[in-house]
């Protein structure tokens, strides 16, 4: 009995012992789990902090500083430091001089050494990270053979280290290194968190690179815009004087030469305008005035414009069919004509000798598609996706076709800005069909096409003598206007090449009309206009602005400021003469 009681106690003791051990083990597991959860939560908090800071950071440096501080706080390690990857060969790794230091004095020597050292791939802790693209852990840097800063680290009392890559895609753009006072056993959880930190910080690099690219793109657009603007000014003189010469009594040979000058000049102007248009669209400065446009009219007008070019190459332009006669689309009339002209001139330029161009419209479900068929060689499939990109000239290798390579890119942007779609269908050896698709819009009750009054250029109306003051600093522009005024014997031209002088002359002579350039050396044209308006003596004088700046914003600004008319350079002579006649007639009335 006592033996079985003893056995029973022994069994109970064993069971109790088993239960106790199971409980201890369960507690240990629970503690490990809780610690893991805590660390994960800390890691999440860290990542949140860094993601948030990275998205707010105004610079890469600010984002890196946050990452250094946050990772040191997370690990409890005293030292964090960043290297950037430069293009310096053969030592691309250079200190960013960004640090987290618990004790600046204690680590001053280590800091100085690190700031003034650069590494090649594979060398030292950052070099290993750069070479592998992965985190590197060192248990004790003072025992590590591949750690050139071992001595200074020992003196600073640093032992354990790890370093992480800052990645943009697969490229290491920076390396963050961290140091501890103790030996450090690799901690996978830390490395996982740190790797994500590297990716987060990498996004800041990415964003900065993108901003840089945007800035460069804007700068390019502005440069193009300014350049083409500058080019238009001398062109103004060429075309203006050319037109003047054309009006003179000259020999047929001279007339032919003038025609060539004007043709070349206009071609150059077209190119400059295309560049200007592209850069305006890209910089968001292109202005559109959408209206209900009669499609049949626009097509016929553009087809008429292209016929002479087509005739030279013996290419008939067929169409458009009559089914578009009562169709209107919502578009900017000028831009739409420009777009169609681009497509038509391509259809002619890239056609075969004796081929044909066929313009026709199809309509389905409220969408009208304008097709321009050509009988060219067609476009190989692998080139199609480059077709609408700027500066790609797919036919250029043949060297026979003139162009900027901007036509289709411009057409596509114009179409998109007008809410239309553009596309192409092509068959090798047979030809291509470029199409634009618009939504059909209602026929406006009244066509607001104000018929342009026929311009009289040779028989000026007889008028009393008038004085006109021209404020313009460009000498050839002045000469051009002087020569034009020879056709209006009743007009006396005064000229001022500076705004200040111009204002004085205006007060002294009280001219009947003032012609004003906007880009003056001493004052903007807008200001000249404002001063004229605020002076009771000059406020009634009509001002006609003559400027190369054809942006709609500028035109409406000047008209709102009180300009009577706004003419753009290069001057169209008939329009110029008509405008001054009209302004002076109004002044008379």
């Amino acid at each position: 009995m006592s033996e079985s009681l003893g056995q029973e106690i022994e069994r109970l003791r064993k069971r109790l012992e088993r239960e106790r051990r199971a409980r201890q083990e369960a507690e240990a597991i629970a503690e490990r789990g809780t610690r893991l959860l805590y660390e994960r939560a800390q890691g999440m908090q860290l990542l949140y902090t860094i993601a948030d800071a990275s998205s707010r950071a105004t610079s890469v440096e600010a984002a890196i500083q946050v990452a250094l501080d946050a990772l040191c706080a997370y690990t409890g390690w005293p030292v964090g430091h960043a290297f950037t990857v430069t293009k310096n060969a053969p030592y691309p790794l250079v200190s960013m001089k960004l640090w987290h230091l618990d004790n600046a004095e204690l680590f001053a020597v280590f800091r100085e050494a690190s700031d003034n050292i650069s590494f090649q791939p594979g060398e030292g802790l950052p070099g290993r990270v750069l070479a592998s693209g992965e985190s590197v852990w060192v248990r004790d840097v003072t025992e590590e053979s591949n750690f050139p800063r071992g001595q200074v680290a020992r003196e600073a009392g640093l032992r354990g280290a790890f370093a992480i890559p800052v990645l943009v895609g697969n490229n290491v753009v920076a390396v963050l290194e961290f140091f501890a006072r103790e030996f450090a056993q690799p901690d996978q959880n830390w490395l996982d968190v740190a790797a994500q930190v590297g990716t987060q910080v990498g996004r800041t690099f990415e964003r900065e690179a993108r901003h840089e690219a945007d800035r460069a793109n804007r700068a390019k657009s502005e440069f193009l815009s300014r350049m083409s603007h500058e080019l238009r000014t001398p062109l103004n003189a060429i075309l203006g004087f050319g037109q003047l010469l054309e009006l003179e009594d000259i020999s047929p040979e001279q007339r032919d030469s003038v025609r060539h000058i004007l043709k070349g000049g206009r071609h150059l102007l077209d190119l400059v305008n295309e560049v200007l248009n592209i850069s305006r669209i890209e910089s968001g400065h292109m202005h559109f005035s959408p209206e209900a446009v009669h499609l049949g009219d626009v097509i016929r007008e553009t087809v008429d414009l292209i016929r002479p070019l087509a005739a030279q190459r013996n290419i008939p332009v067929i169409g458009p069919s009559t089914n578009v006669d009562d169709r209107h689309v919502l578009a900017d009339r000028q831009r739409l004509k420009q777009l169609l002209l681009n497509l038509l001139s391509n259809a002619v330029k890239y056609n075969r000798e004796g081929g044909s161009v066929n313009v026709e419209c199809t309509e389905t479900g409220g969408l009208i598609r304008l097709n321009v068929h050509d009988t060219g060689t067609g476009i190989p499939a692998h080139k199609l996706q480059r077709l609408f990109r700027p500066f790609e000239r797919l036919g250029a290798e043949q060297g026979t076709v003139e162009g900027t390579g901007l036509g289709l890119a411009l057409s596509k942007r114009l179409a998109e800005l007008m809410g239309a779609r553009i596309g192409v269908e092509t068959a090798l050896g047979k030809g291509s069909t470029f199409w634009v698709e618009f939504e059909v819009t209602a026929n406006p009750l009244e066509v607001a096409d104000a018929a342009e009054a026929p311009v009289e250029t040779t028989q000026p109306p007889v008028q009393p003598e008038r004085t006109v003051l021209y404020i313009e600093d460009n000498f050839s522009n002045l000469q051009l206007i002087e020569r034009l005024f020879a056709r209006r014997p009743n007009l006396k031209l005064l000229a001022a090449m500076q705004a200040g002088l111009g204002l004085d002359l205006a007060v002294q002579h009280l001219p009947d009309m003032l012609l004003l350039d906007l880009n003056l050396p001493d004052m903007s044209g807008l200001e000249v206009l404002a001063r004229l308006r605020t002076n009771p003596h000059t406020c009634e004088i009509p001002v006609v602005v003559i400027s190369a700046d054809a942006t709609t914003g500028q035109i409406s600004r000047l008209l709102a400021a009180g300009a009577a008319a706004y003419l753009t350079k290069p001057l169209e002579v008939p329009k110029f003469l008509a405008t001054i006649d009209e302004v002076l007639a109004r002044r008379n009335a």
């Binding site: 069994r11 088993r18 106790r20 051990r21 083990e25 369960a26 789990g33």
Partner: protein, 189 residues
């Protein structure tokens, strides 16, 4: 193998045969036996215990495992009623194994490796269940299925035409459920 399986085994054996038998099985298998449901233990500990039970209770190991499954199922239903109470019969309950029950197991017991099942639910009479596990504990699956049927007041007939233990690449269990009172027969234990 998760500690909860060992806890269930202990509970089933203790209920049926008393604590002394469990003690003696631990002694015979030379296992300390301090199992906690949160822990992970070697698979062979289970096999050792099953072998010891097989000797002690004079039953083949597969029968022990299957019996364990049948008896453990109501204990699971008591512990985790949420997985059971939505259902009135065995078949829809079993279909939630991959999608609901085992994902929950993985949440509560990190590192758990429950078996994978695939189901052919096309026949109204037979539910075909493929069983994959490196542990080859298809007998436990059979026991759990049988236990579940009993829990829902049904009888299950299990056909086991291919089996990993017999050298097939996977186990295929054909299950037909019948209301209690029908004659059912288990084949290929």
């Amino acid at each position: 193998m998760k500690g909860i399986i060992f806890n269930l085994l202990e509970e089933v054996i203790t209920q049926a045969h008393g604590e002394d038998v469990w003690d003696s099985l631990l002694d015979a298998a030379q296992i300390a036996g301090a199992f906690t449901s949160l822990g992970n233990y070697p698979d062979e500990d289970l096999l050792k215990l099953v072998s010891a039970a097989s000797l002690s209770l004079a039953q083949p190991p597969a029968a022990i495992i299957r019996w364990f499954g049948v008896r453990a199922l109501p204990l699971l239903a008591q512990k985790y009623p949420i997985f059971f109470e939505k259902f009135k019969s065995t078949r829809p309950f079993i279909l939630t194994l991959n999608g609901i029950i085992h994902p929950e197991v993985r949440k509560v017991y990190p590192g758990a490796e429950p078996p994978m099942f695939d189901f052919d639910n096309s026949s109204p009479d037979v539910l075909v269940m493929g069983y994959y596990s490196k542990r080859k504990l298809c007998a436990l699956a059979e026991g759990f299925v049988e236990g579940a049927a009993a829990y829902f007041g049904e009888v299950v007939r299990i056909n086991h035409p291919s089996c990993m233990i017999r050298g097939d690449s996977s186990c295929r269990l054909e299950l037909s459920f019948l209301p209690v009172g029908s004659s059912a027969q288990c084949q290929n234990l």
